[in-house]
């Protein structure tokens, strides 16, 4: 069973976030800030997911456009488009998106024109050097409160890993694991561990994508609160897409249901004979639905922190991240003592 993000944080700092003391309140704030930071640090994967969604919308648009072109349907092109659609959908559902995404964007390693990767590397690079400083600081046994506090950042990121057998102690090993994890995240060679993929994307998905709820750590009531409206809009979107898909060939749905669970049916489209109006409604749903889902999730995630954390859309800018980082660092500074005291 996977521990929730908050559970790990709770164990690490050794106090109950739900207690009524001021410290715990601040800690609650810290946890939310760190959660936000966590989401930002894996924004590369999120971007990948958003791109996968965009691909799905694009593909559906192409399938629809092919029906109106002169000369009839181009079977070859439609087959390829439907394959991309299927691959993107499967990648989203199984959490394999980063693998596909990284292969594309990092195809030319020395390429300055691969815009996405360098930016994201810089985004993630901001916390990493600090963690590296932590690593060097720790063995020496010294470190100011801030440094040690910063070190607590990295284990939070590490919480994405599968359940740690011992939650207490051994910060060193966890830090080293985290360092490796973060390095892998940054790694242009895209050798990300399967664990990381599964967990980062599964923890990401319910919050951002509105996909299935399996394997979601939802222990904290705060998370539940933020997830609830999300699940509402998820259900609403799904019912619309399901309605659209119901009018599309029933044979296809039957086959799909045998293969995957019922939720994924709602995203499937036809490869051939399909009436135009359900497809066009699908197109509009996907175009708005994904963006709507992503936006609403991000907004909900960023609401709980009481401090002014800048709201951002799915494509957060570098400056936004750095600003967040600075705010988190300053806020952590104020909380340094209680945490160090642990």
């Amino acid at each position: 069973m996977q521990r929730s993000f908050v559970d790990h944080a709770t164990l690490l700092v050794g106090c109950d976030p739900h207690s009524s003391t001021a410290t715990s309140q601040k800690l609650g704030v810290l946890i939310h800030l760190l959660q936000f930071l966590f989401l930002k640090s894996i924004s590369k994967d999120k971007m990948a997911s958003v791109d996968a969604q965009r691909l799905i919308a694009l593909s559906i648009g192409k399938l629809q456009a092919s029906r109106s072109q002169r000369g009839g349907i181009d079977l070859h092109k439609n087959l390829l488009v439907s394959h991309v659609l299927y691959t993107a959908r499967t990648a989203l559902l199984t959490g394999m998106v980063p693998e596909y995404y990284h292969a594309e964007t990092t195809a030319v390693q020395t390429d300055d024109d691969t815009v996405d990767c360098p930016e994201r590397v810089e985004e993630v690079a901001v916390p990493v050097p600090e963690s590296r400083e932590c690593d060097s600081a720790l063995p020496s046994g010294e470190g100011e409160g801030e440094t040690k506090t910063l070190c607590t950042l990295t284990p939070v990121v590490d919480l994405a890993q599968p359940p740690l057998t011992s939650a207490s102690g051994n910060v060193d090993s966890r830090l080293q694991e985290t360092d490796v994890t973060l390095t892998e995240t940054m790694d242009k060679e895209n050798i990300s561990t399967e664990q990381q993929q599964n967990l980062t994307t599964t923890s990401l998905q319910p919050a951002v994508l509105g996909e299935r709820c399996a394997n979601v750590p939802t222990a904290s009531c705060d998370n539940k609160r933020s997830a609830a409206p999300c699940s509402c809009c998820r259900k609403r979107k799904q019912s619309e897409t399901e309605a659209a898909c119901d009018s599309i060939s029933p044979k296809k749905r039957r086959i799909e249901q045998q293969e995957t669970d019922s939720e994924s049916d709602s995203w499937e489209t036809t490869e051939d004979m399909c009436t135009e109006s359900p497809v066009s409604s699908l197109v509009s749903i996907f175009n708005s639905g994904f963006k709507g889902l992503v936006h609403s999730s991000i907004e909900l995630e960023s609401e709980p922190p009481q401090q002014a954390v800048p709201r951002s859309g799915p494509n957060s800018s570098k400056q936004g991240l750095q600003q967040c980082m600075q705010e988190v660092v300053t806020s952590i500074g104020t909380l340094a003592r209680p945490i160090v005291a642990f």
Binding site: L75, T87, A107, V108
Partner: protein, 494 residues
């Protein structure tokens, strides 16, 4: 590229409209100009569709665009030299076929020593049709042209659109009978009472008239869009391949064909691949290959069984897992496959590379040439603008030592199999000075852009070279850039 043994390519001719290359969506220009190396030029108004009557030396490649309509009709869709290289045929989206013939040079000392390609014949091969049963329009675009070997004074070619293959016979007429007794010069019947003398009719030389007439129409055999035709080495049969089936025809029989490959699944929802190209072996009349959208090439032997669904050999390279992406399937789809003249090798073109296969080894290609690897990181944008679906063709030279294929920005690439050197050239109106040597082009993939290099982001993806042809024996190449046809020759022979 200078150097011993390397060819220096220089401009020879260009045919087509003089304005910026017409792309889909642009208004049609109304003047046509053809520039020849000796500096003479002709200008023609936007003319009507041409008939069979064409004078050699005239350059009209006219189109019949309606006002406001894009001159899609002028976009060249296929280019093919005939067996001796004297004729060059092009087909366009408007269903027309234009044949160029190389005129012998006037004197041995005159330049160019090889002679130029001038319009020989233009005719409307296919017309737009409507399938009433499926309520679908059938495009008149010529997908492929294949020349038949010459057996008499006439030339024959096969041309196909999406549904119908036609055999055209192109004949010359330079004499006409004259001196009839019962008819006068205009052809009117004479009054028998006015005839006083008897004479023998004779043939009078007249101006050359080239006529094209459809001899056979092979119709109603394909449910899906025909993408290939290939003449067998027995010169009696040919195959036509669509997305899911390949049919074998006899040239003389139009009312039936034999289905030799059928990959249509019982349930269309289980469809996973389509046929993208098919070709007969150049010397073995029982062997043909077909390529698929999944990146496989299957070689079939017609002696084994009537329905060649099971291949004799399958040429497939395992996918590199590190390159897996959303678009792996699309870029592995083979767009063209060509046997070498020797019949020992074949080349396949997928989106990013050209591969040379030895027929005796099906596990992996013996050579792989990257055409535009810098596009691998741009696949998402290329998917968006549909460029990823472009079907590039490839071509061998006469000695099977070089391979040519097209790219974007009107670039085309040539690979020398012996020296392993590659060359990128551009087909553009800027290099149309007579005997102007083409400068090699470079695409800058990152870092600092050197002088004369072009960066990946500056490439014009609307200017693509999909169709190229290499003369069967000499170093003359024909490159189709949207609606212009460029002819380049090597410098030594010019």
């Amino acid at each position: 590229m200078a150097g011993g043994g390397d060819i220096q390519w220089c401009f020879s001719q260009v045919k087509g409209t003089v304005e910026e290359d017409v792309t889909e969506g642009e208004a049609p220009p109304h003047h046509y100009l053809s520039v020849d190396p000796d500096g003479d030029s002709w200008e023609y108004e936007n003319g009507t569709r041409e008939t069979e009557h064409m004078l050699p030396g005239s350059e009209d490649v006219g189109s019949d665009c309606e006002d406001g309509d894009i001159c899609n009709a002028d976009i060249i869709s296929t280019v093919e030299f005939n067996q001796d290289g004297e004729l060059l045929a092009t087909g366009d989206k408007g269903g027309r076929v234009v044949i160029f013939k190389r005129e012998p040079p006037e004197t041995k000392q005159s330049l160019p020593r090889r002679g130029e390609y001038n319009v020989y014949s233009t005719f409307q091969s296919h017309e737009p049709e409507f399938d009433y049963l499926k309520s679908l329009e059938i495009e008149e675009k010529i997908n492929k042209i294949r020349w038949l070997p010459r057996q008499n004074a006439a030339y024959s070619l096969l041309s196909t659109n999406d549904k119908t293959v036609k055999l055209w016979k192109i004949t010359e007429r330079d004499k006409r009978p004259d001196g009839f007794n019962l008819k006068d010069d205009e052809g009117r019947i004479k009054n028998p009472n006015d005839i006083t003398a008897l004479r023998v009719p004779f043939f009078k030389p007249t101006e050359l008239i080239v006529e094209a007439s459809p001899r056979r129409v092979y119709a109603n055999a394909h449910t899906y869009h025909i993408n290939s035709i290939s003449l067998n080495s027995d010169h009696e049969t040919f195959l036509s391949g669509d997305d899911l089936r390949i049919n074998l025809w006899h040239l003389e029989i139009t009312d039936r064909s034999f289905n030799i490959v059928d990959i249509k699944p019982a349930n269309m929802e289980e469809l996973t691949e389509v046929i993208t190209a098919a070709e007969f072996h150049p010397s073995m009349c029982n062997v043909f290959v077909y390529s698929s959208s999944k990146g496989t090439i299957r070689l079939c032997d017609m002696r084994q069984r009537a329905l060649c669904d099971q291949h004799s050999k399958m040429f497939e390279e395992p996918e590199d897992p590190s390159n897996r992406s959303f678009f792996s399937e699309i870029i592995s789809s083979i767009s063209d496959v060509k046997f070498s003249h020797s019949g020992r090798y074949l080349i396949s073109r997928d989106y990013l590379s050209v591969k040379v296969w030895d027929l005796q080894m099906d596990s992996r290609p013996i050579e792989t040439y990257q055409v535009h690897e810098y596009l691998r990181s741009k696949l998402c944008s290329l998917y968006e603008n549909d460029c990823i679906f472009d079907k590039f063709e490839c071509a061998w030279n006469g000695t099977d030592s070089q391979i040519m294929t097209g790219s974007y920005n009107n670039f085309f690439r040539m690979f020398d199999r012996n020296t392993k050197r590659d060359l990128t050239l551009e087909a553009s109106r800027e290099n149309t000075k007579p005997k102007c040597i083409l400068k090699p082009r470079r695409v800058c993939t990152g870092g600092k852009r050197k002088k004369d290099e072009i960066s990946v982001d500056s490439l014009d993806f609307n200017k693509k070279i999909l169709h190229t042809a290499w003369h069967p024996t000499e170093n003359i190449i024909a490159v189709a850039a949207t609606n212009n046809l460029y002819i380049f020759q090597d410098k030594d022979k010019v």
